[in-house]
Amino acid sequence: MTQIEKVLIANRGEIAVRAVRTANSLGIKTVVVYSRDDQDSLHVRLADNAVYLGSGSVLETYLNTGKLMEACEQTGADSFYPGYGFLSENPDFARLVTKEGYNFIGPSADVIELMGNKVSSRKEAKKAGIPIVPGSEGAIDDVSKAIDICERIGYPVIVKAAFGGGGMGMVIVNSKDDLEQAVHSAQEQAKAAFGRSEVFVEKYLINPKHIEIQFFGDKQGNVVHLGERECSIQRRHQKLLEEAPSPVVSPVRRAYLGNLVADFAKGAGYVNAGTAEFLFKDGQFYFNEVNARIQVEMGVTEFVTGYDLVVEQFKVASGEPLSFNQKQVDIRGHSIEIRITAEDPLHDFRPSPGQVTSLIMPGGTGLRLDTHLYQGYTVPSRYDSMVGKLIAWDLTRSLCRHRLLTALDEFKISGFPTNMRFHRFLLEDDSFVSGTYHTGTIEERGLLEKVKDEFYAQAVALLAYSQQSSQSTLPKPPSDNWKVQGRRESTGWSV
């Protein structure tokens, strides 16, 4: 056993807040780090200690391993909590932390390395009997070999970075003529984004579903799966909504796939939280990759299983066994999470950071809001646009959907546009209600056009109201931009 007494949380935003909360509940002291842009962030206020990382890019702050190790030493922290993103899947960092005698709360460096390489993880998955997407099964060094493979599996194909994620370094190819160019372009992108240029090629499935299995391993060698999550609603390969269970996965299928994944992870000596991502098309599952870390969407799994996954991360890292075995895991009811982002759906989800001028939060039974927002907080433009996760639980999917819609109506963030209008249309769309939605649903169902339509209708409603209102107290338009004075004189118009 390696008792954790003080943890350094090397992250920001809602996950840093979450980690501080969980550590506090376990009686563990917390140290957080923050950049200049984050000096007013909530995680800084909640933690026992906060270490300033300076200004500049993420490379100089949250990804600066030297500064993080120094912060650890300075504050006497004994372990690192990486969260998701940043250094969470960096094997070199995990190795450094361990070498320096600190506890890394996540899988071992070797496991991160194996899983982080999409080529090696696919090979291992295939060996374990997990179905994978047909493709090159290895990095492409020779374009002519790639051409042969693509002839065999058929176009379209996708060229992907072997190291990486989040949609960077991916190119879709529709014909042989474009392949060579795409391979070079993906290699360049991969090199620029992840420092390694290896790419591989696989069949591109059109509009699949995205379904993933959560699993957990401990140092005693137990690996347990916690069922699936469906995360098909995505924009630019970033997830926007997740639910558990998936409306298309039966209990038999869940047990079958879940056990395959658990055995695969066990074979790899996997300790701590992990997720195996699958694409689902025409009734078939295809392994995509393993995320060797905690996921943003863990909340829906926590709701349907009743377990606190961050608590389990701490327990497992300190050498204790998991709190549950496979038989005890019971999927109860249904949970849906929506990611609230500072993005404007009226302008194709353009980032829209700003200051929170007023905030009304929803609440009640079966509802959870994980956020780092507070009134007066300014969302910095340098980091991810996610400002919170609104998660609902209920006995059935239909009840859960209604609970989430009610919460969404209550939830008010003023000061900058968010994607909440979009989420309402999504939750009310037939494809979501029926559960048939997929990764191309946002475009296929014209959901952004519906957001625009509602906005225009609101503008019309306000115009109609203010014209009718005899004693209107509407604010005057700003006269500098609008040259209101001149017009008012010439038309007799007044507000």
Binding site: E343, D409, F455, A457, A464, Y465, S466, S472, P475, V495
Partner: protein, 168 residues
Amino acid sequence: MEETENPITYEVLLNGERLEITVHPDGSCQVNESVYKPEIETNVHGVEVKVGEFVFKIQDVSGRISIDYNEVNFAYGPVLPQLKRSMRQKDQRKVITAPIPGLISEVPIEPNSVVEENELLVILEAMKMRNEIRAPSKSMVQQIHVRPGDQVDLDQIMVVLIPVSEGE
């Protein structure tokens, strides 16, 4: 909506978005290609405006306007046709400003060159996303105010274009 003999076009500013709404004599309102017919109903709960499939609750508390309990910034004024035309003629330049604060990563254009409609002008990185800023029409690049590596604020001027009409 007020009965009018001729259509009147209003400039509407809603939460920072500028729209033109044309009100027709029958009370229907046109925004871009969409036509809406608002119906106002006042009841004990306040004012409800029905617009197509939508019903909005509007509240007006000493000048603070809310729609479905979300406070909005709203202002409007009529657009005079002659004024509109003269304004457009006076300044033909098209100023491209930063739609979001962020970091300039690429500026693949040269001063005094001609860019086609939709050609890439600037890549602006914010919130881990690459935002492509493109030319609204075929234009001559008159001024470039940003370089790769620059941090820009919201609405900061990045590029100034002079539209080139196809006939010239």
